[in-house]
C-alpha cells in the first residue's frame, strides 16, 4: 500500500521523514519520469503544502529562496541584476509546464550534472539550508553536490532553502545554455557568469560551468587570475586551456568531451562580452 503524505508544517514533514524515510516530492518533474507506473509508490513526502517553504525573501544577510519556489516564481521575482543569470536559467529549465511545477530544491537534490539551476546558484555563492531531526545546518552548494545524482543530504533532512549572501548580490550576470535544440533540451554545456566592475577594474568575478563535469563547477583559478585586472582585458577572452583545466567533461550522445571544453570557453567569453560590452 502506497502512502502519500502532504503535511502543511515543517514539523509534521520532518516527523514523517523520520518515521517513514519517505521519498521527498516537490515539483515531481523528476520523480514521475523515473517511473512508468501511473502513480508514485510510497512512501512519499510531498512538501508543497508547506507555505513557509515557498517564496523569495530578502534577509539581513542576503536572500532566502524557499525550497519549493518554482522556476516561474523566480522568473517574475524582483531581484537585483546579479540574479539575472538565475532568471535566465529559470526560463531555460524544460518548458513553461516544467517551470510552473519544478522547484529550486528539487533541481539541487536531483543533482543532475545538467541541472540548469546549479551554475547560476554557484555563481551566487549559494548555500543550502538543511533541517533534520538533529537540527539545522548550512553548507555551500558546492559542498552539498557530491557527484552525479549524489548530495550530502541525510535521509532525515529536508533541503528547506537556498541562501544567497548579500555580497554575492552585486554586479551583472548572464546565463548561456547550449543544446541541440531550442526548448526542452538537456544542455551540452552551460555557463553562468557574474561580474562586478569598479572603476574599470574587475573587483569580483564568478564563473560557473555546468554539464562539463560530474557536478557543475566554479572556475576558481581563472577567477583569481582575472580579479583585479582592468575590465578591458576581458575583451581578449579567456582561453580554452584555462577553462578546460577546471573541467572533466565526458563524451556522450550529445557531444564529445573536447567540444564541451571549447564550447564552455566560448560561452564564457560571450557571457563576459555580453555583460561588459563587446569592444
Amino acid at each position: 500500500m502506497s502512502s502519500y503524505h502532504r503535511p502543511d508544517t515543517l514539523t509534521d514533514a520532518l516527523g514523517v521523514l523520520a518515521e517513514t524515510g519517505a521519498v521527498v516530492a516537490a515539483g515531481c518533474t523528476d520523480l514521475f519520469p523515473a517511473t512508468e507506473y501511473p502513480e508514485l509508490t510510497g512512501p512519499i513526502l510531498d512538501i508543497t503544502a508547506i507555505d513557509t517553504l515557498r517564496g523569495i525573501t530578502q534577509t539581513e544577510d542576503g536572500w532566502r529562496i524557499g525550497a519549493t519556489t518554482t522556476w516561474s516564481d523566480l522568473r517574475v521575482a524582483a531581484l537585483p541584476a546579479a540574479f539575472d543569470m538565475l532568471k535566465q536559467a529559470a526560463v531555460e529549465v524544460g518548458s513553461r509546464q516544467i517551470q510552473n511545477a519544478g522547484t529550486v530544491a528539487g533541481n539541487l537534490c536531483n543533482a543532475s550534472p545538467a541541472a540548469d539551476g546549479v551554475p547560476p546558484l554557484l555563481a551566487l555563492d549559494a548555500q543550502v539550508e538543511l533541517i533534520g531531526a538533529s537540527g539545522a545546518r548550512r553548507l555551500p552548494l558546492a559542498e552539498f553536490l557530491v557527484d552525479v545524482r549524489q548530495t550530502c543530504r541525510r535521509p532525515d533532512e529536508l533541503l528547506t532553502a537556498v541562501h544567497v549572501p548579500a555580497r554575492a548580490g552585486h554586479g551583472n550576470s548572464r546565463f548561456l545554455k547550449l543544446g541541440a535544440r531550442k526548448y526542452l533540451v538537456i544542455s551540452i554545456a552551460m555557463v553562468a557568469v557574474r561580474v562586478v566592475v569598479d572603476d574599470d577594474t574587475i573587483s569580483d568575478l564568478a564563473l560557473a560551468v555546468g554539464s562539463c563535469s560530474a557536478v557543475a563547477v566554479r572556475l576558481r583559478d581563472l577567477e583569481r587570475e582575472l580579479i583585479g585586472r582592468p575590465v578591458q582585458e576581458l575583451a581578449g577572452g579567456v582561453g580554452v586551456a584555462q577553462v578546460a583545466a577546471c573541467l572533466s567533461p565526458i563524451s556522450d550522445i550529445r557531444a564529445d568531451a573536447s567540444y564541451r571544453s571549447e564550447a564552455a570557453a566560448e560561452l564564457i567569453n560571450r557571457a563576459l562580452a555580453g555583460i561588459v560590452g563587446t569592444p
Binding site: P7, T41, N100
Partner: protein
C-alpha cells in the same frame, strides 16, 4: 495534515472529488476516473506536453502532477474550452489555419496557448513560440499552430469561412472536415476507448538485442500475484506465428519462440484487471535470458562467418535492389569532373506523439480491433493469420491515429490484444509506454552509402554509381521496399544516361527498420544532392543552375527507362530562382561583416513515385444516396493527420457535382469501407483520390441517366429529393421512392483504381510508378563558426502537386515534412538502450523551425485525378540535403554523418580550414 483526504477540486468549473490514490498522475485521474480523454498522454515524462492542463491558470503537465497537488485547485482541460459544444476563438483559429493535423498534440497546444493568451492577448511570435515550446508536434512543423495563436480572439465566436459550393471543393482552402473533434478534444485515439470491464494487457519484452530464453514456472509466478492473471506465450498462438507487411517476407513472430533478435521484442503477454496490471512488476516475470553476441551494423553482419539473423537469408542480406542503364563505369572514367562521397545516416524514430494503443473485443464471433493504424486491411489479414482466423472473422476499426509516418503500417499490439480477447472472450486493451513504443516499433533505415557522379565540361551529368547498405534490423518489415525504391530514386529528378545503383537491406540485431516517410529515398538524396554541389562548385556553375540544366523534362526517360510526362521539377527549380538570388544577396551582405555567424544557402530537389513499386495497390471507393437523402462516402483511406478524410471528399464531391458539406463520411472500418489500401507511399490522394473521382463520376452519371440529363446538368440534393437542372429543363428524383440495394442505397456507385505500372526487369528497367511528384527546397541558415551550431532561418519550398486539391492541407504537409527533415539533419539519432524517450531523442520544437514559404506548382499529371500528384513524402526528401549544402556554403564544413550535431559541424569546419578533424 493534508494527507490521505480525498482530493477535492474543480474541473472545468465542476466540483469533483477523486477517489484515486493521492500520488496518481492527474492525467490518469482525468482520463480514467473522470473520462476526460481530451487530455492526451504521449510520454509520461513531461517531454511532450500533450497532457498540458491548467492548474489555477498555469500550464502544467498532468502526467507530472500528483492528484494531491490539485487539491483545492481549479483544473481546466481541453473539454472546458468549448461553451455548450460551440468551439470558441482559439479552437476556431486552429481550424481556420489548419493547425491540427493528426490532433494528438492539439489539446496540449490549446491549453498552453490559453495560458499565454490570457496573460498576453496579442503575443509576438517569440512569445508564442516560448509558450508552446513545451508541446511537441510531429505533424505540422508548428507554423500553422503559431499562426493560429497569433490570430485569435480568445472568447469570441468568429465567423468561419464558408465551405465551398457544388463543384468548387477541389482547390479550395477549406478546413479539415474531421477537424472539429480534434480541436474540441473529443477525437478518440487508440487509448481513448476503454470498454467497461476491459482487461489490461502488458508485454514482457527482451532487454537484449540477441538472446535465447526460457521461461521459469509461470504458474507459480501467477499464483504469487495479488489476483488473477492470464499469461500467454508463443505456445498459445493458434495460427501462424509470423507477420510482416509484405506476405512473402513475413518473418516476425507476434511473441518470440525461443530466441529474440532485437531489444524490445515481446516474449509473453500478461492480462488482468487494470487495477492489478498497471502496478504489476514485470521485472519479476520468470524468464531467463542467455544473451548472444549481437550484430550491430551491416558491416559486421555481412562479414564472412557472421551469425545469421535468419538462417534462410545468406550473408544476412534480405534483398538487393538494382537499377542499371548505360555504361556508368566508362562514363565516369572518361568524365571531366567526378565527385565521390561516403555517407552515414542513423536510426531515426518516427516519434509520433501517440504511442501505440488499442482495444480488442469479441462481437458475435467476430474479433474486433480498434487501434491506431495506417493500414486496416493489412492489419486484418496479418492478425487473422497469426490468430488462425479467416480474415472475415476479424474486423479492424481504426481509431483516430496520432501520427504514423510509416511505422503504424506494421502490426504492433493487434495480435497481442486479439489473442487475449480471443482466449478470454473479454475486451482486452493495451497502451504502449513511450519507451515501449520506441524500443519495439520500426525506425528509418540507417544507411552507409557511397556514390560517384560525373559531369562533362559543360556541366551535364554523364554517369552515376551508387551503393548502399541499409540496416534493416531484426525483421524484414519494409526492407524490401527500401532496397527497391532507393536505386530507382537515387538519381534524383535528373537526367543521368549512365547509371548503376544498388541497395541492400541487411539484417542486424538492431531495431526493425521499416517505412518512414520516403522509404530510404531521403537518405539517398543526401548523397546525390551533396555530390551535385561538389560538381557545381568544381565546374564553377551556380548550384541552382546546375540542377536546372540536368533536370528531367517531359519525354525524358528515367534511369528505369520510363518515359515521363507531367514532369514538374524544372518549374520547381525556376520558382526558386528569384528567392535564390535574393538569398545570395542577403548572405553576401551578412558575411561581409565577418562575424562568427556565417549565412549559407543550399538547394536540393526531390522526386518520388506514388504508390507501390511496380506492384498492384488498388483503392476502392463507394458512394451512395440513401432514401432519406444522406450522401454517404465510404472512405477507407486512413487519415493519420495528412488529410485524406478531407481531400478524398473534396474530389468525390466535385466529381458528383454536390457541395462537399453534404458528404457524410463513413470509415475507415474493414466492415464498412472497401479497401483503400494503406496510407503510405504518398498514394492516397492519387490512388484513392482517383477511385473517388471515378466513383463520384459514376454516381453522377447514374443520376443524370435516371433524369435523362446531359453532362452539363446541375444536381441539387434537398431533403430526400434530387433536383437536376440543365438550362430550362428541371427534373426531380424522389430518393425515398427508389428501391434500395442490399447496402441500403437508393443510388450507389463503387469504383476501383489501380495505377498502371510495368514490372522492373533484372536491370531495374520498367515503369515502376504511374505518377511521380517533384519538389525543390531552398534553405537559408546561419552557422556559428565557433560553436558549430546551425540555425535554419528560412526555407522556400516549391512543390509540384499537379493539381492542388487543398492548399491549406498541402502547406501543412510541406511544413511538417520540413520539420522532420530538419530534425533528421540536425538532431535526431536513435540509439537502442540510450535514447528511448523524448528528452534524449530530440525532435524539433517550436523554437527550431524556420520561416517556411511554400510555393505550390501545378503541372498536371496525365494519370493523376484531375492531374494531382502525391506530396506526403516528397516534402521531407530535399530538406536534409539542402540544409547540409547550406551548412557547407556557410562554413565549408562537409558533413558526411548525420545528424549534424554541433560537435560534428565544428570538427568539419576545422577540417575544412585545414586544422585537425576529430569526428
Amino acid at each position: 495534515m493534508k494527507d490521505h483526504a480525498a482530493p477535492h477540486m474543480t474541473v472545468n468549473g465542476t466540483p469533483v472529488t477523486l477517489g484515486c490514490a493521492p500520488g496518481r498522475r492527474l492525467s490518469e485521474a482525468l482520463r480514467g476516473e473522470l473520462g476526460l480523454t481530451g487530455t492526451k498522454v504521449g510520454c509520461d515524462a513531461g517531454d511532450c506536453g500533450a497532457c498540458t492542463v491548467l492548474l489555477d491558470g498555469a500550464a502544467v503537465c498532468a502526467c507530472l502532477t500528483p492528484v494531491a497537488r490539485a487539491r483545492g485547485c481549479r483544473i481546466e482541460t481541453v473539454e472546458g474550452l468549448s461553451r455548450d459544444g460551440i468551439l470558441l476563438g482559439l479552437q476556431q483559429a486552429f481550424q481556420r489555419h489548419g493547425a491540427a493535423q493528426c490532433g494528438i498534440c492539439t489539446p496540449g497546444m490549446l491549453m498552453a496557448a490559453t495560458a499565454l493568451l490570457r496573460e498576453t492577448p496579442n503575443p509576438t511570435r517569440g512569445q508564442a513560440e516560448a509558450a508552446l515550446g513545451g508541446v511537441l508536434c510531429r505533424c505540422t512543423g508548428y507554423s500553422k499552430i503559431i499562426a493560429a495563436v497569433m490570430d485569435v480572439d480568445l472568447s469570441a465566436v468568429q465567423a468561419m469561412p464558408e465551405t465551398p459550393g457544388a463543384g468548387a471543393a477541389v482547390g479550395a482552402r477549406m478546413s479539415r472536415l474531421d477537424g472539429a473533434a480534434k480541436v474540441a478534444g473529443s477525437e478518440r485515439f487508440g487509448a481513448d476507448h476503454c470498454p467497461e470491464g476491459a482487461l489490461l494487457v502488458r508485454a514482457v519484452r527482451s532487454p537484449h538485442a540477441a538472446a535465447r530464453f526460457h521461461f521459469g514456472d509461470i504458474a507459480e509466478w501467477v499464483a504469487a500475484q495479488a489476483g488473477d492473471l492470464l499469461v500467454l506465450t508463443a505456445a498459445d498462438i493458434p495460427g501462424e506465428n509470423r507477420f510482416g507487411v509484405i506476405p512473402s517476407f513475413a518473418d516476425q513472430p507476434a511473441l518470440a519462440e525461443r530466441h529474440v533478435r532485437m531489444r524490445g521484442e515481446a516474449v509473453a503477454v500478461v492480462a488482468g484487471i487494470p487495477e492489478l496490471m498497471e502496478m504489476l512488476d514485470l521485472g519479476s516475470f520468470p524468464v531467463t535470458w542467455q544473451p548472444e553476441k549481437e550484430l550491430t551494423t551491416p558491416g559486421t553482419a555481412r562479414q564472412a562467418g557472421a551469425r545469421s539473423v535468419h538462417p534462410e537469408r545468406s550473408d544476412n542480406i534480405l534483398i538487393t535492389g538494382k537499377v542499371r542503364c548505360g555504361e556508368p563505369a566508362a562514363a565516369i572514367a572518361g568524365a571531366a569532373h567526378v565527385a565521390t562521397a561516403e555517407f552515414r545516416t542513423t536510426h531515426v524514430e518516427h516519434a509520433y506523439i501517440e504511442p501505440e494503443a488499442g482495444v480488442a473485443w469479441m462481437d458475435d464471433g467476430i474479433l474486433v480491433i480498434r487501434a491506431c493504424t495506417q493500414a486496416p486491411v493489412m492489419d486484418r489479414d496479418d492478425t487473422a493469420r497469426v490468430l488462425g482466423l479467416p480474415p472475415e472473422q476479424v474486423r479492424i476499426i481504426p481509431s483516430a491515429t496520432g501520427g504514423g509516418f510509416g511505422s503504424k503500417l506494421d502490426l504492433s499490439l493487434q495480435p497481442l490484444i486479439g489473442l487475449v480477447a480471443l482466449k478470454t472472450g473479454r475486451a482486452a486493451r493495451m497502451v504502449y509506454s513511450r519507451s515501449e513504443s520506441m524500443r519495439s516499433t520500426t525506425k528509418r533505415h540507417p544507411a552507409r552509402m557511397t556514390a560517384r557522379i560525373a559531369a562533362d565540361g559543360q556541366g551535364r551529368v554523364t554517369g552515376m554509381q551508387f551503393d548502399g547498405d541499409f540496416d534493416t534490423g531484426a525483421y524484414a518489415s519494409w526492407g524490401p521496399t527500401v532496397a527497391v525504391r532507393v536505386p530507382v530514386h537515387a538519381s534524383g529528378p535528373y537526367r543521368i544516361p549512365h547509371y548503376h545503383s544498388e541497395a541492400r537491406a541487411v539484417h542486424t540485431n538492431g531495431p526493425v527498420a521499416g517505412a518512414f516517410r520516403g522509404f530510404g529515398v531521403p537518405q539517398a538524396a543526401i548523397v546525390q544532392e551533396t555530390l551535385f554541389d561538389d560538381l557545381a562548385n568544381d565546374l564553377g556553375i551556380d548550384r541552382l543552375a546546375f540542377r536546372r540544366l540536368n533536370a528531367l523534362q517531359d519525354g525524358d526517360r528515367s534511369v528505369c527507362g520510363q518515359e515521363l510526362y507531367g514532369v514538374g521539377i524544372v518549374d520547381c527549380l525556376d520558382a526558386l530562382r528569384d528567392p535564390w538570388s535574393e538569398a545570395q544577396r542577403v548572405a553576401a551582405a551578412m558575411n561581409a561583416r565577418r562575424g562568427h555567424i556565417r549565412r549559407g544557402i543550399g538547394v536540393a530537389a526531390c522526386w518520388y513515385g506514388c504508390g507501390n513499386t511496380a506492384l498492384p495497390n488498388p483503392s476502392t471507393i463507394r458512394v451512395g444516396l440513401t432514401p432519406d437523402g444522406r450522401l454517404v462516402l465510404h472512405q477507407g483511406a486512413t487519415d493519420i493527420g495528412q488529410g485524406s478524410n478531407t481531400v478524398i471528399a473534396q474530389i468525390c464531391a466535385d466529381a458528383i457535382g454536390l457541395p462537399v458539406a453534404q458528404i457524410d463520411l463513413i470509415g475507415p472500418d474493414t466492415a464498412m469501407t472497401p479497401d483503400c489500401g494503406k496510407t503510405s507511399a504518398s498514394r492516397q490522394t492519387v490512388i484513392t483520390g482517383k477511385a473517388a473521382m471515378l466513383a463520384g463520376a459514376a454516381l453522377r452519371a447514374d443520376i443524370l441517366a435516371r433524369s435523362n440529363m446531359g453532362d452539363g446538368a446541375r444536381i441539387v440534393l434537398e431533403g430526400t429529393m434530387l433536383h437536376v437542372t440543365d438550362g430550362e429543363e428541371r427534373r426531380s428524383i424522389a430518393l425515398s421512392e427508389l428501391s434500395v440495394n442490399s447496402r441500403g442505397y437508393a443510388i450507389m456507385a463503387e469504383q476501383s483504381y489501380d495505377p498502371p505500372t510495368l514490372p522492373l526487369d533484372e536491370n531495374g528497367q520498367g515503369s515502376p510508378y504511374a505518377v511521380y511528384g517533384y519538389g525543390a527546397q531552398l534553405v537559408e541558415l546561419d552557422v556559428d563558426m565557433k560553436l558549430g551550431t546551425a540555425r535554419v532561418q528560412r526555407i522556400t519550398a516549391a512543390h509540384d502537386l499537379g493539381k492542388v486539391i487543398n492548399p491549406l492541407l498541402a502547406e501543412g504537409q510541406i511544413e511538417g515534412g520540413i520539420a522532420q527533415g530538419l530534425g533528421m539533419a540536425l538532431m535526431e539519432e536513435y540509439l537502442p538502450g540510450r535514447t528511448e524517450n523524448l528528452h534524449d531523442y530530440l525532435i524539433p520544437t517550436t523554437g527550431d523551425m524556420p520561416e517556411i514559404r511554400s510555393i505550390l506548382i501545378e503541372k498536371p499529371d496525365p494519370e493523376g485525378p484531375m492531374g494531382a500528384k502525391g506530396l506526403g513524402e516528397h516534402v521531407l526528401i530535399p530538406t536534409a540535403p539542402a540544409i547540409l549544402n547550406a551548412i557547407r556554403d556557410a562554413s565549408g564544413a562537409r558533413i558526411t554523418r548525420l545528424p549534424a550535431l554541433p560537435h560534428r559541424v565544428l570538427a568539419a569546419i576545422r577540417a575544412a580550414q585545414g586544422g585537425q578533424a576529430d569526428g
